[in-house]
Symmetry: C2
């Protein structure tokens, strides 16, 4: 996606070979027009799969996922990293390790909001080692639904996540695939 | 806002006189069409104030704030409750006590993303005692900008937040104002 790659090159910053700072347009300050266009791209690509529901993780996935769900005309479900005291009942849970924060966390979703026999589209801001995506896969399996597709804003193609998802034959669309990065620049996989 | 009040009455649940469960359309499962319409309502109301930027808190404010910012054509900035290891530099911070989670947390925003001399619109899902809104007011003050308006999806009008904001003469638009709630039903302030 051309506008996204331009945003990464002009407004992003490769802090080192692993960490890409995109907090000026994606996950702290957010460019809503870009998020809208990202949502339309995901929706157009995955619409033929008969998506029933969009699933994301709080909080950086919410903006692109909200525009995707709006364009598809289906509900959005946000997997929670933190429990609130009003979150009770029949819960689906799994453990995920965060690369960015260097921590482990529980992903939680109410079973009511992930009904069985649906086609689920998972949207997230980053794909690196794929831990978050595998958390989504596990919760969707527990719910007896199908993870029909995965839409990623920025893929670190030099990490293992994409290959692990391809091995499972899950359709993945990454709007920007970074093959290498560092102080000398950012290169995309075409 | 009619569609919102209908959603609260038909899809929400007053757990007791203080806690309203709206996780079926607002903060866990999200109705993106409703969020879009909420965003358009906030944008139409506050546009005359010359809003430069929309500010919200992760994570339940993000969906309505993203549609608001998209419609206004201005950036969205998400105040963070959790620090990540890539969040460094000149930071604005304040402490907020959460009613729902019964905890205290730090609100953090990079100073770069809250420049001085702007008109800021703060959007959040709930207004109860107003702690989150007062956290936003404090960060915007520290940034030497102006909190021009506050857009709230659901106001618990029987709590102190609205009065405290009115006392500061900050324009507040709450799309649903609940005057009382409980097992016997939910009543709105017209």
């Amino acid at each position: 996606m051309k506008e996204l790659k331009e945003a990464i090159l002009t407004r992003g910053k490769a802090v080192n070979q692993d960490v890409l700072l995109v907090d000026s347009f994606l996950n702290h300050q957010v460019d809503p027009t870009l998020m809208h266009d990202i949502g339309e791209s995901f929706a157009a690509h995955f619409k033929p799969l008969g998506i029933d529901r969009v699933l994301t993780i709080e909080s950086s996935g919410i903006a692109p996922a909200a525009f995707t769900a709006y364009t598809l005309g289906v509900p959005l479900v946000i997997m929670k990293k933190q429990m609130s005291r009003i979150m009770t009942g029949d819960l689906l849970q799994t453990t995920v390790r965060s690369f960015t924060k260097g921590t482990e966390y529980q992903l939680t979703v109410k079973r009511d909001f992930l009904p069985e026999k649906e086609q689920i589209l998972f949207i997230d801001d980053f794909l690196a080692s794929g831990e978050a995506a595998f958390g989504a896969i596990k919760l969707v399996e527990e719910a007896h639904s199908t993870l029909a597709g995965i839409g990623i804003v920025i893929e670190k193609s030099f990490q293992s996540g994409r290959k692990r998802l391809d091995d499972l034959h899950i359709p993945v669309l990454s709007l920007a695939r970074i093959i290498s990065m560092g102080p000398e620049g950012i290169e995309f996989l075409e």
